[in-house]
């Protein structure tokens, strides 16, 4: 019993020393606490597929009441901003090439006449496909506006209404704001980077400076050294995650539906897994540079295949299998579902046990390599 207490005291002492080593230097303190907040602010505004400012040009060959009405609906949408009215076909290419306009709406000379005769009038929309996702979203907006125009036209001029109509509603995110999806996902992403690197590099630094061997001749057991290296990263990771969570709620005002206990339980498991991976990296690297570069080699695929920016369900099957060893993909799923849907531990078990498994495997692997150094 007294042995356990002594061990605990040693771990606390080591944790205190580690935290002091990281936090006593002002630059290092700032580099751990400020970036997650600043990033969640900047990326919260930037990381969105929603468009609210689409420059477009019109080429109206009809110049009738109907064509003017259609264009004024685009102008009045608050999204589209007309940057030019062109009359010649080759001006379209100039505008699009130079990125002056994302779209060019081309209305043919018979537009109103075809409408009046009860036929279908085609409107050509040319989009800059250099970023095909942005172009697709903008085209989608145009087609919504045209749908409304059609509805009103039928209402005013008679004709048979479209018989079936989809009435769409989005649950959990009624206005379909990408931000609601992105920012809760960032709680895990922004903390992973520094938690993992901090752990990997703190061991590598001791090794590079030769102090790791000194640590090994102290009364600390390998397990205690490992715990002492893991705890500070966990503490800092928790603080960072809380910072991002606060930004999401207080600044972006995204309503938190779930329970904090559930969220933090998931985050703890995630941080344990991240720290375990950091410790494993430090076991295979001799210098700080190596430990950082190896961390990068893991963090890059983890964050690209996490489902933060592109959905996992759009990935090919074998890549989806690969994501099952990615702690970040579970963390993002947990934070999003707790945050937006209020999911409880039961619904999240499919995310929680793999995280626990990863944490267990990496931590015991790290403990094993730490112990082996002694022989």
């Amino acid at each position: 019993m007294s042995g356990a207490i002594a061990a605990l005291a040693r771990i606390v002492a080591l944790t205190r020393k580690e935290l002091l080593a990281v936090l006593k230097d002002k630059r290092s303190r700032m580099s751990l606490l400020v970036p997650p907040i600043v990033q969640s602010l900047i990326f919260g505004y930037a990381a969105s597929y929603d468009l609210n400012h689409v420059p477009y040009a019109s080429m109206d060959e009809d110049r009738s009441a109907a064509s003017t009405e259609l264009l004024s609906r685009l102008d009045g949408s608050g999204v589209f901003e007309r940057v030019a009215d062109v009359t010649r076909e080759r001006d379209i290419a100039t505008l699009i090439d130079a990125r002056k306009a994302l779209l060019v709406v081309h209305i043919g000379p018979l537009f109103e006449r075809q409408l009046m005769m009860g036929g279908t009038a085609a409107v050509q929309v040319i989009a800059d496909g250099r970023n095909s996702n942005t172009a697709g979203t903008a085209l989608n907006y145009v087609s919504n506006i045209v749908d409304r125009f059609n509805g009103d036209w039928i209402h005013d001029h008679g004709g048979q209404a479209v018989q079936v109509q989809t009435v769409a509603r989005a649950w959990y995110n009624p206005n379909l704001e990408t931000r609601w999806f992105m920012i809760p996902g960032m709680i895990g992403t922004l903390t992973l980077l520094q938690t993992m690197m901090l752990t990997a590099m703190s061991v590598a630094r001791e090794r590079e400076q030769g102090t790791f061997d000194q640590l090994l001749v102290t009364p600390f057991t390998p397990f205690e050294i490992m715990a002492g290296k893991a705890m500070p990263s966990m503490v800092i990771g928790t603080i960072q995650a809380t910072g991002v969570l606060l930004v999401a709620q207080l600044w972006f005002r995204i309503p938190f539906v779930g329970a904090y206990v559930t969220l933090y339980a998931g985050l703890m498991l995630f941080l344990l897994a991240a720290v375990g991976m950091g410790l494993l990296i430090s076991a295979v690297s001799a210098t700080m540079q190596q430990s950082m570069l190896y961390s990068m080699l893991l963090i890059m695929p983890f964050s690209l295949l996490s489902g933060l920016t592109t959905p996992i369900s759009s990935m090919p099957r074998w890549v989806q299998y690969l994501t099952s060893i990615n702690p970040l993909s579970y963390a993002i799923d947990i934070t999003r579902r707790v945050y937006l849907e209020g999911a409880g531990l039961g619904l999240l078990s499919a995310d929680l046990w793999p995280l626990a498994l990863i944490a267990m495997l990496t931590l015991s692997g790290a403990a094993w390599t730490f112990g082996r150094r002694l022989q």
């Binding site: 930037a46 109509q165 995110n173 379909l176 570069l293 759009s314 990935m315």
Partner: protein
């Protein structure tokens, strides 16, 4: 002059050996680009296919069944049929489906009287995906209405129809817009991260001071540090271009020389940022974190390769103007997909050149200040 070259040569050889002998440098120069190429080629995609949806048939009349079969035939959907809302809602909550299409009890009756709503509930979590799914459902419903119209049951051609044309990427292939992003990320990582670490290590270990008391001049040290990593970046660049041509089959419609020149400028900038950061903080841990924060993450999030810059709020948009990645992405997208568009390429290249020059001067000044 001659002595200068001899000293420079010695430094380059020393630095190159250091790179070659450290497996982690090779890892970041060669392995990381390869991993990124594979991830971008096969992992990242915004295309939505095989969406799991629950189709709720509250009353399986012939019309409702006919419409439901439209979902079964569509390559975009993977429908499961339910007879009431409750089990479908349960599926949505468990993330087994991304949406619910509800054909209500009196769908057929409403259809006969003129207006029949098809209720759609999408999981709005991923807004982009939700919007795409809404579009697909609209498509299936409109297709069904058109089929009925063709059979003489009701008319449903809309007054105005849209003919959309996607220039530069007619087939809407998402690798076309991912490749410029890939090149930017690889160049940023090799250039920025490696140099930041290398210089910070020399500072941390005090070996830079011992280097400074030798006859080598500070600009020679900078050059000696830069050249081997520049060469490593060339390897990364070659890998990216080869994969864009032979793996992703993205067209290179502009000139290769412009692509090459601009990429070399960008690498110089990334190297400069790395050097500047390391000279400023002189600590490997902080230098690596800072490099990630000011180069890699902005290149991913703020460069315009994934998210549209024009839709960002003014403050964030102003920040993007000082990011070299922004100009490099604009240039890459045009050179690959649109051709030699002078109105994009000339201004971007000029800005990149100015940034490279400023950083070269800046890192030299930072070195000299440390000496004084």
């Amino acid at each position: 002059m001659r002595a200068k070259l001899v000293r420079l040569r010695a430094l380059v050889i020393k630095e190159t050996r250091q790179v070659v002998r450290d497996p982690s440098s090779i890892a970041i120069g060669v392995v990381l680009p390869l991993i990124l190429i594979v991830l971008f080629g096969y992992g990242l995609s915004l295309d939505v296919k095989n969406v799991p949806v629950a189709v709720v048939l509250e009353n399986p009349t012939p019309e409702a069944l006919d419409l439901a079969s439209g979902f079964q035939l569509s390559p975009y959907f993977h429908p499961v049929m339910r007879r009431s809302m409750a089990p479908a809602v349960e599926l949505l909550r468990e993330h087994k489906v991304d949406g619910i299409v509800r054909l209500s009890q009196d769908f057929s009756r409403q259809l006969a009287t003129g207006q029949a709503p098809v209720q759609l509930i999408v999981h709005g979590g991923d807004a982009n995906r939700a919007r795409i799914i809404e579009g697909y459902v609209d498509g299936v419903v409109a297709g069904w209405a058109a089929r009925r119209a063709a059979q003489g049951q009701g008319v449903s051609s809309p007054p105005v129809s849209i003919e959309a044309r996607l220039w530069f990427n007619e087939a809407n292939d998402s690798s076309y817009f991912l490749v410029p992003g890939l090149v930017v990320l690889v160049m940023t990582l090799i250039g920025g991260l490696l140099t930041a670490m290398v210089m910070a290590r020399e500072w941390e270990r005090g070996t830079l001071e011992s280097l400074l008391v030798t006859p080598v001049r500070s600009d020679e040290i900078l050059l000696g540090k830069t050249l081997p990593y520049f060469a490593l970046a060339l390897v990364g660049f070659t890998l990216c271009v080869l994969s864009s041509q032979f793996l992703f089959h993205v067209p290179l419609r502009g000139s290769f020389l412009i692509l090459f020149g601009a990429s070399m400028l960008y690498v110089l900038i990334a190297l400069g940022i790395g050097l500047l950061i390391s000279a400023w903080v002189k600590n490997q841990l902080v230098a690596s974190q800072l490099t990630m924060l000011v180069t890699f993450l902005p290149a991913f999030m703020l460069s315009g390769f994934l998210f549209d810059i024009r839709s960002m709020p003014t403050v964030v948009r102003l920040i993007t103007y000082v990011l070299p990645a922004r100009y490099y992405v604009a240039l890459l997208q045009s050179v690959f997909l649109a051709g030699n568009v002078a109105s994009v390429i000339v201004p971007s290249t000029l800005v990149l050149a100015a940034m490279a020059a400023a950083l070269a001067l800046g890192s030299r000044a930072a070195m000299n200040k440390r000496l004084a």
